[in-house]
């Protein structure tokens, strides 16, 4: 008793949970189904589910309680049902294998769906072959941690997203591994949320799809081998740092697509082997600082409607084209970047090149006007032309220039 008082004093929440009733569900337990346990349990109780495959149709949780799966506790939707629907706040779902949700053209059936709730935790689950993986509707202050979410998407129209948030704010997603869905992570009208250290790969469309979602942060994520990369659209104040965007190859693929973005920051990311590293359309006042742009087709494609963006202290190396644009005017600021295509000199040894660098090459400009000219990629004539233009610029837009190109890469 004395011990319990001490614990209660030190860890009040711990005490709250440990004092709750624990219901055991399993073939060898008195409770055979989760439905029975849910009906019997009170708020704050814990339901522990033993190994076994549970086919119970849709499991609806409408009390604040904790549902814990032991090893190989499988919840199966039999390709007909939504597996779990959470309709109460303070629910924890931990340790399950959740599989085979139904597919519907009308309802967005999911592995786990949260509706109008707060402070729920979804962790350590393995979601396999669900239409949508985890679906948030109008839910806040929830966490999705360390789940593995594997879809089986064949076509964009017949598949759902891995983690889907709609009208939900202040949520926290971390250390999830999402693959094989339409979009790995999907945000629509989501504010003040954080996406940290997730791996999103081999999804049909986007690794991360972001719309009308202001003031969100995503850091330390890896997005790779997705159909067309990561798209961030119609949003302000997004902070993106320390992410890796790689291997997004394809006719219309990119590492990061920015559309109508403002007051955002893209810092310390690595863009490697993407057809287009960053594609900027209608972006403004956005910082692109200290990123590594390596071995992309086009490192940066910046359209004429972008303005006030700053591209500073990035490393451009091994890209086929450094910067492409359809603009003749430059309303953005390029400064202090390292360009491996730069062939200027540094007489005063201040590590800053003495002549400006023009990152839009002649060939890049030509292909902008005449896309078919891309058939001459790596042709000697084109290389020759580019070199000549470098020495005596006549056609490439004069305003696109970095006045202080670095002689050595920025250490990141």
């Amino acid at each position: 008793m004395g011990k319990r008082i001490v614990l209660c004093f030190l860890f009040p929440f711990f005490y709250f949970y440990s004092s709750a009733t624990e219901w055991k569900v399993g073939g060898n337990e008195s409770m055979k189904t989760i439905h029975d346990a849910l009906a019997a349990a009170d708020s704050g109780d814990v339901i522990v589910v033993s190994e076994g495959v549970y086919r119970e149709g849709e499991i609806v949780i409408s009390k604040p309680l904790s549902l814990t799966g032991k090893k190989n506790a499988v919840l199966d939707g039999e390709m007909k049902y939504q597996v779990i629907t959470v309709k109460a706040s303070h629910v924890t779902i931990d340790g399950f294998i959740i599989q085979n949700s139904g597919y519907s053209d009308i309802h967005e059936l999911s592995g786990i769906r949260l509706e109008n709730v707060q402070q729920c935790i979804i962790r350590n689950n393995h979601l396999i072959n669900n239409y949508f993986g985890i679906y948030f509707a109008n839910s806040t202050y929830c966490s999705v941690i360390q789940n593995v979410i594997e879809g089986n998407a064949k076509t964009e129209s017949s598949s759902g997203n891995g983690i889907h948030l709609w009208k939900s704010s202040n949520n926290f997603l971390s250390h999830n591994h999402i693959s094989g869905h339409r979009d790995g992570i999907y945000f629509e009208f989501v504010k003040h949320s954080k996406i940290m250290a997730n791996l999103s790969e081999k999804n049909l469309r986007y690794g991360l799809h972001f719309m009308f979602s202001d003031n969100d942060t995503y850091r330390y994520n890896i997005f790779r081998n997705n159909g067309s990369g990561v798209a961030v659209m119609y949003t302000q104040h997004v902070f993106m740092s320390d992410n890796i965007f790689e291997n997004n190859w394809g006719g219309a693929a990119y590492g990061l697509l920015l559309k109508e973005i403002s007051y955002s920051e893209i810092v310390n990311n690595t863009f490697r082997k993407n057809t287009i590293g960053i594609y900027m359309e209608g972006s403004s006042k956005t910082k692109v600082h200290r990123n590594n742009m390596q071995h992309n087709g086009w490192a940066l494609r910046i359209l004429g409607d972008c303005s006030g963006d700053t591209i500073v202290e990035n490393n451009f190396s091994g890209n086929t084209f450094d910067v492409a644009t359809n603009a003749t005017m430059n309303m953005n600021y390029f400064h202090s970047n390292y360009w491996d295509h730069y062939s200027g000199y540094d007489l005063n040894h201040d590590q800053v090149g003495d002549v400006p660098f023009h990152p839009v090459s002649l060939y890049s400009k030509i292909t902008e006007d005449a896309p078919y000219a891309l058939m001459l990629l790596h042709s000697f004539f084109v290389d020759l032309m580019d070199e000549t233009e470098k020495v005596m610029p006549t056609i490439t837009p004069e305003q696109f220039r970095d006045d202080a190109p670095l002689m050595k890469p920025v250490k990141l």
């Binding site: 190859w249 082997k273 091994g318 086929t320 990629l377 042709s379």
Partner: protein, 255 residues
């Protein structure tokens, strides 16, 4: 023919120029593989060499060889041997030697580095270009008795295919940009063996995605087994036509 081929190979493989060529290719490609960790980038660098140096060496060396072995060819012609056999023997001997130099100089480093399908294609199209440009060299040579003029023609041919042609294509694409050009683009590619070789290799690299819509079109065409066969067939045609033309001239030529 096989006998002549054998003796020409024996002679050419011992010449200083072919040894220098092999060594150059070997040092260049192993150096590139060694310095560059990214094999895709190395393949692109090697592609530039293949598209520029291989045709140049093949056509110049081919022309020089033709003129230098004129007296020997005469001696062979005074023997009871069919003219066509002498011509084809000389051609096959020289082009096989050059192809062997390429295989030893570039093929070996490529094989050791194990850099995948694109690199293998690179060596294959390099060998085809060797055969094509040696044939063009012989065509330039048989058409002119004057050595300087022959070498001049050969250099012009090289300049046209390796450099100028793409300039012409670029202007065409630029001026007719508003028209649907997908079919003309394919057609234009087929008109130059160097471009064919470049496109075939590029399609095996992930940079092909850069070619966007045109690339997708190429990919659709050349990506299939059927398309790649057609491309190879076109290259073989580029070999067959100049060679047969040169052979016909040689057959009725006064020496």
């Amino acid at each position: 023919m096989m006998k002549i081929l054998k003796y020409v190979i024996y002679d050419v493989l011992r010449s200083k120029m072919i040894i220098a060529y092999t060594l150059f290719l070997f040092l260049l490609s192993s150096g590139l593989f060694w310095m560059n960790t990214d094999s895709g980038k190395t393949v692109v660098s090697l592609l530039h060499v293949i598209l520029l140096v291989v045709p140049l060496i093949s056509i110049v060396f081919g022309t020089i060889h033709y003129y230098n072995s004129r007296e020997f060819t005469e001696l062979l012609l005074a023997q009871p041997i069919n003219r066509n056999k002498i011509f084809l023997g000389e051609y096959a001997g020289l082009s096989c030697s050059l192809a062997f130099a390429l295989l030893a100089g570039m093929g070996v480093p490529v094989l050791i580095s194990g850099s995948g399908e694109a690199a293998v294609y690179l060596v294959v199209v390099g060998i085809l270009l060797t055969f094509i440009f040696t044939a063009l060299a012989f065509l330039a040579s048989v058409r002119s008795t004057d050595k300087a003029r022959g070498i001049g023609t050969a250099l012009l041919l090289w300049f046209y295919f390796a450099v100028l042609f793409d300039g012409i294509v670029l202007s065409i694409l630029f001026y007719f940009n508003d028209y649907p050009l997908e079919k003309p683009v394919l057609f234009l590619t087929a008109l130059n063996p160097v471009d064919l070789a470049r496109v075939i290799t590029l399609l095996k690299l992930d940079t092909s995605a850069l070619m966007g819509y045109t690339g997708a079109l190429y990919q659709k065409f050349f990506g299939s087994a059927w398309g790649i066969s057609i491309a190879m067939l076109l290259l073989l045609l580029w070999l067959y036509v100049p060679l047969t033309w040169a052979k016909r001239i040689f057959f009725r030529k006064d020496l």
